[in-house]
């Protein structure tokens, strides 16, 4: 029995599946990190698997101090509606454009487990 919804989210991430919230009262698909439906205020939220595809809304190319390398942080609108904010890997800087198709990728992080990021289509 999990004590926090993030545990179910991470258990699904371990299987490379991004979980979103689905409101049982109104059918809205919401991001995973809400406990109340943002549309109808119901607390009856279940889980729904994302198809793992989206389109770029915006991004930045971040230049940290050396020796850390350049990274791209992006936000993508998933096909289901919610936005996912994460590092974007596998895309060249000159390929970046609004609306670019991307997919949900996976990263294993020490102390947390597998987490969803964004990746080239």
């Amino acid at each position: 029995m999990s004590i926090h919804p993030s545990e179910e989210f991470l258990a699904s991430a371990d299987r490379s599946v991004l979980l979103l919230r689905r409101c049982e009262a109104c059918g809205t698909t919401a991001p995973p990190d809400v406990d109340i439906c943002p549309r109808c205020r119901s607390a009856r939220l279940g889980w729904a698997e994302s198809a793992g595809r989206g389109r770029l809304i915006s991004w930045t190319v971040a230049h940290p101090k050396p020796p850390a390398s350049v990274r791209i942080l992006a936000v993508a609108e998933l096909a289901e509606g919610p936005w996912w904010w994460a590092d974007l890997e596998g895309v060249e800087v000159d390929e970046l454009r609004e609306g670019l198709e991307v997919v949900v990728g996976w990263r294993d992080v020490k102390g947390i487990g597998r987490v969803p990021i964004l990746s080239a289509y």
């Binding site: 991001p31 915006s58 230049h63 992006a74 987490v115």
Partner: protein, 391 residues
């Protein structure tokens, strides 16, 4: 229906005094900066610690100020005491709550204080608990890379650029103008003039934001004193009335926000404050906007109605900014060139200007001021419309 207050009532809350501690690349700890700022603000108001019966504190990045400050200051039997945290919107909010407290009579004299010591923490390797929200979801987002103010504001700026054609050079006009004001401010951290070419040549931090688009890092503290108009009338300085206020918290951080980077909380909090004050942007003499990034200023100017939505780029590069322009904006250099004291930077500068204490950078028309507070990643917004309380 806008908020209402009786601006003729002698018991109403007004700002009676304000002050900074030493600020910038100075040695010290947050609680010590806070104590200095409180002492100076009370002196500015012509009052003493014995008059204080309310205290609102807020911490900067290192979490170095808490309600324990009351113990440090020897304050007993306070009628109001709390720690607040809405990041850059806190200072503006503190004034709102302190004025409401005095209006209602829960306390007579409320001190508001903020301080931070990021340079000290960095130098001595002290990592305080800090004030960033925590919890499992924040940890997951951080693990995916969805963290970093520079990154998030850059994402917002790019969205505005893609939608409206705003350019980096237009952001540069803000940086150049504020540096000119800082040249007139002996306490500013960066005073040497810069040009648009300097801005364009400054290193990319998180594209499209460059180094000269980003605010400073500063040690220091700031405080202000709110008391009744009747009491402030006998004090040494010009009391300041709050004519209007508002708050807006869009509430979509790391979620879906169709307005992200295009419209901020300033639109709603500004509209509420202007309506309550019965003023429009054209009626404001002194404009002090939260400027963690040049982009934040541009977006806020649009949202407050100084120009149309999407027209901020043309507006700021029209020559209207800077000491020789017609819009007195961020007159101490702001957070970009003055010092970064979160929401206290624009607030204290507004009070200094309204009081006629701004020295070489003093704006001649100084009856009304507008102050913005912006916290998180465009997530928390609060506005004040201030005026000399000449009655």
């Amino acid at each position: 229906m806008s908020a209402r207050r009786d601006l003729a009532a002698p018991h109403r809350g007004v700002i009676a005094g304000s002050a900074l501690s030493e600020v910038g690349r100075v040695e010290g700890t947050a609680d010590q900066f806070a104590i200095t700022a409180v002492a100076r603000a009370l002196e500015d108001a012509g009052l003493g610690l014995g008059d204080v019966d309310g205290l609102i504190v807020s911490s900067g990045s290192t979490g170095g100020v808490s309600t324990d400050l009351a113990l440090r200051l020897g304050l007993r039997d306070l009628k109001l005491l709390t720690h607040m945290q809405a990041f850059g919107a806190t200072a503006t909010q503190m004034v709102q709550y302190a004025v409401l407290a005095v209006d209602s009579g829960i306390a007579d004299t409320v001190v508001c204080v903020w301080a931070d010591d990021p340079l000290t923490a960095r130098k001595h390797g002290i990592y305080g608990a800090g004030v960033r929200p925590s919890g499992p979801w924040r940890a997951i987002h951080a693990a995916t890379g969805a963290v970093g103010a520079n990154e998030m504001y850059a994402i917002a700026a790019r969205r505005h650029m893609m939608r409206f054609g705003t350019t980096s050079s237009q952001l540069g006009a803000i940086a150049v103008a504020q540096r000119e004001w800082a040249g007139l401010n002996p306490d500013a951290q960066k005073r040497e003039p810069i040009t648009l070419d300097d801005h364009a040549a400054s290193r990319p931090v998180c594209e499209p934001l460059r180094l000269l688009d980003c605010c400073l890092i500063s040690n220091g503290g700031a405080a202000l004193v709110v008391t009744s108009a009747a009491r402030a009338h006998d004090g040494p300085g010009r009391p300041i009335d709050v004519l209007g206020w508002g708050q807006s918290h869009p509430g979509a951080y790391l979620q879906r926000n169709d307005d992200f980077g295009l419209v901020s909380g300033a639109a709603a909090s500004g509209a509420a404050a202007f309506e309550m004050a019965g003023l429009q942007p054209g009626g404001i003499d002194i404009v002090e906007l939260y400027d963690c990034y040049t982009f934040t200023v541009l977006l806020t100017l649009e949202d407050y109605g100084f120009c149309g939505k999407g027209e901020g780029g043309d507006f700021v590069s029209s020559g209207i900014l800077g000491p020789s322009g017609s819009l007195a904006l961020n007159t101490g250099g702001g957070q970009l060139s003055g010092s970064y004291l979160w929401g206290m930077t624009p607030l204290i500068e507004a009070l200094t200007q309204l009081r006629g204490a701004a020295g070489e950078r003093q704006v001649s028309r100084r009856d009304t001021a507008l102050v913005s507070g912006n916290g998180g990643v465009l997530g928390h917004h609060a506005t004040l419309v201030l005026a000399g309380a000449d009655s």
